[in-house]
Symmetry: C2
Subunit: 145 residues, 2 copies
DNA sequence: CTCATTACTTATCATTTGATAACAAAATAA
DNA sequence: TTATTTTGTTATCAAATGATAAGTAATGAG
């Protein structure tokens, strides 16, 4: 099998994934949130509690800029910070009640849009999709990062 | 089968795809190109010739901003514009020789990184991957856009 | 204790990107 | 013909993001 052909197929695939992600997530929050801030909230939502350093690394941004965005999110009552009792330099970030509500609504909206995407899928189709996702995770994405 | 579970699997999958895309494409050009400009060149590369209006729509940006970025790319000799002989309002954009060279090098670099990702895959693995990509394209991504 | 390191903040500046108004030229419709 | 629409440009402003210097407080190593 031709690896180069597989590469081209993969590139086309990722382009489509990016397009679909854009469609699924556009206009997702009424709140006046920047794209970067949404990304950060999304990460906190699925990984909380997280430290600013972790956010900084996962979002590929500098710690000062992370700190600035977290301050804005805290001012808007969307997140809360707690300092580690053992190591008081460290901080843990969580969504506030309001932030949780906002992100849950956002996720619900994305899920609804996703379900529309697969509305005509049969049970067999769903199994195929699930299996395909698992194959790619295992054989391409989980290789070493 | 639980569609909601599939949704969560899909979300995790797309997050990983975005991460891998980031890794595959980071520091890809020596040229002093902004991320947006790279995206535009990438689109031109695979779809040329394209009009500014098409770029504008596919990249989700306004026509004035598209025009500005194209001007910068033209000043840097990375693209060329031609006006349509039939409808002289229209313009066709292509990569210049230099732009082609740059993008081919970029793509070659990305392909090399991708091949590393699947370096341990057997022939059967490759067939599985190819099939998985096809399934997802057909049953999720090509539903209606 | 002293010194270096870690985790984070504040401040500042540059660059990139987005938004919008105003315009021009060509094509099309009336 | 005149009016309208399409395609694109230029100019300008605002906002978002990136980069970096300097500083604080806590921890840990020696």
């Amino acid at each position: 099998m031709n690896k180069s052909a597989l590469f081209h197929q993969f590139v086309a695939f990722t382009a489509t994934i990016h397009q679909v992600t854009h469609d699924l997530t556009q206009n997702i929050t009424a709140a006046n949130i920047t794209p970067l801030q949404y990304k950060i909230l999304e990460y906190i939502k699925v990984s909380q509690p997280v430290t600013p350093t972790e956010i900084s690394e996962c979002q590929h941004m500098s710690l000062p800029n992370t700190s600035r965005e977290l301050r804005k999110l805290q001012e808007r009552q969307l997140i809360q910070k707690f300092s580690d009792t053992a190591d008081r330099r460290k901080q843990y970030v969580r969504l506030s009640k309001e932030g949780e509500k906002m992100m849950e609504e956002a996720f619900a909206c994305i899920e609804e849009r996703f379900l529309q995407l697969i509305q005509h899928a049969t049970q067999d189709d769903l199994k195929d999709i699930q299996h395909a996702l698992a194959i790619l995770e295992e054989k391409v994405l989980r290789q070493n990062g």
